[in-house]
Amino acid sequence: MNRSPMTQTIKTKVLVVGGGPGGYVAAIRCGQLGLDTVLVEADRLGGTCLIRGCIPSKAIIHAAGQFESMARAAQAPRFGIALDTAPRVDFAATTRWKETIVDRLNGGVRALLARAKVRVLSGWGTFSDAKTCKVATAAGEIVIVAEHVILATGSTPVELPSLKFGGRVISSTDLLSLQALPQRLVVVGAGYIGLELGIALRKLGVAVSIVEAQSQILPLYDAKLVEPLRRWLERHGVAVYVGAKVLGLNSRGDAVEAETRQGDKLTLPADRVLVTVGRQPLTSGWGLEEMAVAMHGRFVKIDDRCATSTSNVWAIGDLVGEPMLAHKASAQGEMVAEIIAGKRRRFDVRAIPAICFTEPEIVSVGQDLDAAGGDATMVGVFPLQANGRALSMDAGDDGGFVRVIARKSDHLVLGIQAVGQHVSELAGEFATAIEMGAVLEDIAGTIHAHPSLGEAFHEAVLKSLGHAIHI
């Protein structure tokens, strides 16, 4: 590796590669702990989550929700409100509004990093050994030599060989920057990303159909939990083909061809094809193979301190394994910073909450029925239609509920799930309960504000203890 003499070399204590929720949180915490830190990000600060994932999709979903309620009001008055003409959507303007939110948050992250005295280098970094990274910046090549390296390169969408991205076939990133809505959208892959975006576009009036190889949409959740969502899709004319294998585009290239398990062929016309069959860790193109870091399948292998096999090289977030969630990455990033600063820490969490911003929303923390449904457990379910707050928000009729699962022997709460409109905001209470090792009596003994959706959780617990009040 011949270095021309003009290359600038920086020595630093910590080098963070990747400015997503894992990387920038790690960098900020390092800065707070007084560690001399450099963050390298090739794209924009905030990573997938902020720039082309969680945040922008939530914005589009919110806009879609507004549009749908107005459209229904234009059809027939709701709670006495009527609209004379149906609403129109200029999707380009919607995406522009979404961008303003992304820019504000991106600016926020930049400010936080600056306050934590983290030096941010924008450019693509390539490692030549475990502690030396050459960054191609606009101002020329900079070589960083670090004592500690935190790898937070995140993940990228999985591409189907039969449906390569490009032209009509788009990824979630492309969809969030469309300038115009398609007439007909085919979603390949009924994971939470495919369903969130598919449902949003359906609300915006797009004809949507969904193809899923497994036998159920949202295969990671138990069937009862997914049932209200399945019914919404049915009621809103979204065609769902489960157990169907995609073959590719047809010869004219304007329709998706698939084959059901029974063997009959499907031809689904599509202006756009959204492929969301999963994400894969970004492990190539930046010199990982030069670092002698051990792998665990397609992920980087780590221990319970996020330490890789190579001393003082740490890895966090989507790069190290499931669940690929921003808040997991941030928690790991914070922990690694504290370990590098000399504290004794390990990643020892009982609960990582997961939310689907589908219609209705789904929240799940801890074990669901598939994992803990046996006779050693006790279950309590409370339907949202019996919850005053839900009714007051016209949110009780989609079959939503809150469910708690506990251990019979000592009433330890093992898992909490909810499906329904607005339930996403209950994720915090559910996670706290499980992380604190709450037993049913702890929840039962906690007064839940009235009226609130949280009461449904309280009542679900009372139900499991056999003395619910409101059902």
Binding site: K343, R346, D348, V349, D410, E435, M436, G437, D442
Partner: protein, 429 residues
């Protein structure tokens, strides 16, 4: 203009210092690159130092004859333009002492002593108090603090619901020096509340070996127990006297040396008792040499160091060897052959004694002799009541080798010698 510091470079093979021979420049001289500055001499060679830069000499360090440690400043220059100093080793400018000086005492700069991290709690966990499969329940704060202190929550009893460990539980655990408490008495002080604690201790090391050997002995050897009462009055008197005026290099006499000499005396008459039985080939090996195993309690558990060739040791010799091997066993320095090869074993619980016992034979031996505690009791002697010092002797014999009658005769002979210790010192008792 920037300042350039030229240090005495490491001129190779661990040379630590050099003596200045002659300067070729003075402060204020302008020197060209590679111009000779100074000649220095190490034990190995006289070397001329040339200037790495062009510039003006602003300071020189040390006169001819001085000793300069490797790495300390030699010459300082003012150079035009940027030039980083030739620091190959950021070493503090060492004191230079005038000629002739013994090797310069480079100031051993006390390296900033890292405050020793409080050694991780070496709480030697006695035992986990919950099955290893189910993970201990605690809040994130409690888990973090425990991890910081190096405490595995597996060993911390939880008083809250579902065995959850509270801050208080952790504090109590630490207060107790990191040892699991006796089963936690119910908080209302109710002594009769049910107790739930279960402690698992894996048998390892010495404990495991003792368990295996005892089990093997009990399973294979048909033990025949025999208890006899000995009148120790005369022997105790003799022992006290011998101890009082013994020479200072001699250890205090206990009972066991007398038994050792008694056994030695009887072995010729009862050779099959001083032997080891090899089961597979069914061979009994009787030994002329008398290697007596001494059952000894060490903190790691029961050990049986061996006094070898007791036949070659007098009373004091037996006493000295006895205390040596038992001490070695207790402090773990006994070698492999000091812990094996016994032909017969003596086991005594000393003052704990008990009135009688059923000692387990130290396989593959065939007999074990167990003196119990001494006690003064009234007995009838020649029709009169007399207070005598009495002691039971509990022995076990391998009934495959030693018949009951044989055992009784052996113990009777033993009693004759112990009750009349004088006989111990005659050639043919």
């Amino acid at each position: 203009m920037t300042r350039f510091i030229f240090r005495l470079p490491d001129i190779g093979e661990g040379v630590t210092q050099a003596e200045i021979v002659a300067w070729h420049v003075r402060v204020g001289d302008r020197v060209a690159e590679d111009q000779t500055l100074v000649d220095v001499m190490s034990e190995k060679a006289t070397v001329d130092m040339t200037s790495p830069v062009a510039g003006v000499v602003v300071a020189i360090n040390g006169e001819a004859g001085d000793f300069v440690p490797v790495g300390s400043t030699l010459v300082e220059f003012e150079v035009d333009g940027v030039a980083d100093s030739s620091d190959t080793k950021p070493v503090p400018a060492a004191a230079v002492s005038p000629k002739p000086a013994p090797p310069v005492k480079a100031p051993a700069k006390q390296a900033p002593k890292k405050t020793p991290v409080p050694p991780v709690m070496l709480a030697e966990p006695e035992s986990a108090i919950r099955a290893s499969t189910d993970t201990p329940l605690a809040s994130p704060a409690v888990r973090r603090r425990a991890h910081e202190l190096g405490i595995a929550l597996q060993y911390v009893p939880g008083s809250a619901a579902a065995g959850r460990i509270t801050e208080q539980d952790l504090d109590d655990f630490i207060a107790r020096g990191g040892v699991a408490a006796a089963p936690p008495i119910d908080s209302q002080g109710d002594r009769y509340a049910k107790r739930h604690g279960v402690r698992e201790t894996k048998l390892i090391g010495l404990r495991r070996r003792i368990a295996e050997r005892m089990q093997e002995a009990k399973r294979n050897i048909p033990h025949f127990g025999y208890v006899e009462e000995f009148d120790m009055t005369e022997l105790e008197a003799l022992r006290r006297e011998l101890n009082e005026d013994r020479r200072e290099n001699r250890p205090k006499l206990t009972l066991l040396p007398f038994f050792m000499r008694a056994i030695v005396a009887l072995v010729p008459e009862f050779p099959h008792i001083n032997s080891r039985y090899d089961e597979e080939p069914g061979v009994l090996r009787s030994y002329d040499a008398v290697h007596i195993g001494i059952a000894t309690q060490s903190d790691a558990g029961l050990m049986v160091p061996v006094v070898r060739h007791c036949e070659s040791l007098d009373l004091w010799g037996c006493a000295r060897e006895l205390s040596r091997v038992t001490a070695a066993a207790r402090d773990g320095t006994a070698t492999r052959d000091e812990l094996s090869g016994s032909t017969i074993t003596l086991t005594s619980l000393g003052t704990l004694g008990g009135i009688s016992a059923t000692p387990v034979i130290n396989a593959p031996e065939v007999a074990i002799i167990g003196p119990n505690k001494l006690v003064d009791r009234p007995v009838v002697r020649d029709g009169q009541i007399a207070i005598r010092t009495l002691m039971n002797l509990s022995c076990s014999f391998d009934h495959r080798i030693v018949d009951g009658h044989d055992a009784a005769r052996f113990v009777a002979q033993l009693r004759r010698l112990i009750e009349k210790p004088a006989r111990l010192f005659m050639d043919r008792p």
